[in-house]
C-alpha cells in the first residue's frame, strides 16, 4: 500500500517524538499538582516548567498563562469571561471570519443581551483597523480578532488593531492558534494558543491573561489556574504542550513557505479554473486555500483521500457541514465557488516529493471529477 501524504496541518499536526517521550514520563507522576506533599511538588514542577515554556514562546510572564482544554475553551473563556463579569449588557467586536469557537460564543452572548459587531473583511480576508476604531463604543468590553485565519491563512494586522484598542482602553483578544510559534503575539493582548497546531497533543491549550485583565471563569471548583480554570489539570497534555512550545522554534518556516509556493504554482499553472484564496503575501507559510471551478470540494477531498493525500475542506471544526464556508462567503466568494475550495496545509515534515505527488494527484482528481 502506498504511503500517505499528510497535508492537513492546519487541522492538527503529528505529535513530535520528543513531546511523546516527555508526556510518557509525566504519565508516571503520581501526585496531583495541587497536593501539598512531595509527590504534589514533583507534579507541580512539571506543570510549572510547561507554563514557563509556553510563557517564553508568548513573551509573557508565567503568571499570565492559564491552561485550558484547548483553543475552543480558551476562546470561550476570553469572550464569555470578559462579558459575564456583571454589570449592564454591553458590546463586543469581532470579525465575520473568526473560528466557530469565537463566533458561536458571540451568538450565545448576543442571545443574553450583548450587542455584537461582526466586522466585514476585504477580498483577501483582512479586517480594517480603522473599522475597529469606528466600531468602538463607550460600552465595548472586548475586541476579538484572530491573528491568522484558520481557513485561508490571512494574517491580520493585529499589532495595529491592538494599538487601536489600547488607545481606547478596551481589552483586545486574539485567537493565535494557527500562528503560535510562527508570529509574535501582540504585547498586552489576551491570546488563545493550543498545543496540537505546534506538534503537541490534542486537548490542551492556554489563554494568556495579561495583568489587569478581568475575566470571570467558565468552570468553578478548586481554584486552579488562578481561579480562572478549575479542575485538576491535564498534566501529561500540558507537559507535552510545554515541550512542543520549546520545539516549535526549530520549524523551518521558510522551507515550508517555499514548498507551499511550489504547490500553489503547480496547481494554478496545471489546473484551469483554479484559484488561491486569501492574501498572496501576508498568509501563514503552510496554508494554501485552493478553489476549483465546477468541482465539489467534498468530492475532491474524497478523491484525494483515496489517492492517499489528506487535505480538508475549510476548518476541521466545521468540515462536516454541507453549507459553504462562512469565511469564504465573507471574502465575497459566491456560494457555488465557495463549495469548490479545499485547504492544503503543510508542516515541517512535508517533503518536496510529497508536494510533487499532491500536485499531481490534485490535477488528476480535478480532471476526473470534471469529466464525471
Amino acid at each position: 500500500m502506498a504511503t500517505t501524504v499528510y497535508l492537513d496541518h492546519a487541522s492538527t499536526t503529528p505529535v513530535d517524538a520528543a513531546v511523546i517521550e516527555e508526556m510518557r514520563a509525566a504519565l508516571a507522576l503520581v501526585g496531583n499538582p495541587s497536593s501539598t506533599h512531595v509527590d504534589g511538588v514533583w507534579a507541580a514542577r512539571a506543570l510549572e516548567l510547561a507554563r514557563a515554556r509556553v510563557a517564553a514562546l508568548l513573551a509573557a510572564d508565567p503568571d499570565e498563562v492559564v491552561f485550558t482544554s484547548g483553543g475552543t475553551e480558551a476562546n470561550n473563556l476570553a469572550l464569555i469571561g470578559a462579558c459575564s463579569r456583571g454589570g449592564a449588557p454591553s458590546h463586543l467586536i469581532t470579525s465575520a471570519v473568526e473560528h466557530p469557537s469565537v463566533l458561536t460564543a458571540c451568538d450565545w452572548l448576543e442571545s443574553l443581551g450583548m450587542r455584537v459587531t461582526r466586522l466585514p473583511v476585504d477580498r483577501e480576508g483582512f479586517v480594517d483597523p480603522d473599522a475597529v476604531r469606528r466600531a468602538l463604543g463607550p460600552d465595548t468590553r472586548l475586541v476579538s480578532i484572530g491573528q491568522a485565519n484558520h481557513e485561508v491563512g490571512t494574517i491580520q494586522p493585529v499589532d495595529e488593531i491592538a494599538r487601536v484598542c489600547r488607545e481606547a482602553g478596551v481589552p483586545f483578544h486574539t485567537d493565535a492558534c494557527q500562528s503560535f510559534g510562527r508570529f509574535p503575539v501582540p504585547a498586552g493582548a489576551l491570546a488563545t494558543v493550543n498545543a496540537h497546531k505546534i506538534y503537541g497533543p490534542k486537548g490542551v491549550g492556554a489563554l494568556r491573561v495579561p495583568p489587569g485583565a478581568r475575566l470571570a471563569p467558565l468552570l468553578f471548583g478548586g481554584g486552579q489556574e488562578r481561579g480562572l480554570r478549575a479542575g485538576t489539570p491535564n498534566l501529561p497534555g500540558i507537559v507535552g504542550f510545554g515541550r512542543a512550545a520549546e520545539r516549535i522554534a526549530e520549524e523551518d518556516v521558510n522551507r515550508i513557505r517555499r514548498l507551499r509556493d511550489l504547490l500553489v504554482a503547480r496547481v494554478l499553472g496545471g489546473v484551469s479554473g483554479s484559484w488561491l484564496n486569501g492574501s498572496r503575501e501576508r498568509r501563514l507559510p503552510g496554508n494554501a486555500s485552493l478553489g476549483f471551478e465546477g468541482v465539489s470540494a467534498w468530492d475532491l477531498v474524497r478523491e484525494l483521500d483515496r489517492a492517499g493525500i489528506r487535505v480538508s475542506r475549510g476548518s476541521a471544526c466545521s468540515s462536516g457541514s454541507t453549507a459553504p464556508s462562512p469565511v469564504l462567503i465573507a471574502l465575497g466568494l459566491p456560494a457555488e465557488r465557495a463549495l469548490g475550495v479545499i485547504r492544503v496545509s503543510l508542516g515541517h515534515g512535508t517533503t518536496q516529493e510529497e508536494i510533487d505527488r499532491a500536485a499531481g494527484a490534485i490535477e488528476t482528481a480535478v480532471r476526473k471529477l470534471r469529466q464525471a
Binding site: 499538582p33 506533599h37 508565567p62
Partner: protein, 78 residues
C-alpha cells in the same frame, strides 16, 4: 558573611505546591553553584519549599524570617 544572590524570585501569594515547583524550575535554569534568593509567605510555604529543594539536592544556605515573610538563599545543585 554576606552571600550575594545571582537571581531572585518572589513567591509571596503563590500557593503550595506551585511555589516549590516554581523555585525548582528557576533553580534548574541556573548554573550549578549560582544562588537564588526566594521570598516566601509565612506558614506552610516556609516549610514545604526548603524541604522540597533539599530533596532535589539544592543547598539551602539561609532560611530566615523577616516579619511576615521568609527569605531563603539557595545554591543550585551541581
Amino acid at each position: 558573611m554576606t552571600i550575594e544572590s545571582d537571581d531572585r524570585l518572589d513567591l509571596r501569594g503563590v500557593r503550595c505546591p506551585a511555589n516549590a515547583a516554581r523555585a525548582l524550575v528557576r533553580l534548574e535554569s541556573l548554573e550549578a553553584g549560582q544562588v537564588l534568593e526566594l521570598t516566601l509567605d509565612d506558614g506552610e510555604p516556609a516549610v514545604l519549599v526548603p524541604e522540597s529543594l533539599r530533596l532535589e539536592g539544592h543547598e539551602v544556605l539561609l532560611h530566615e524570617r523577616h516579619e511576615d515573610r521568609w527569605i531563603l538563599l539557595v545554591r543550585a545543585r551541581g
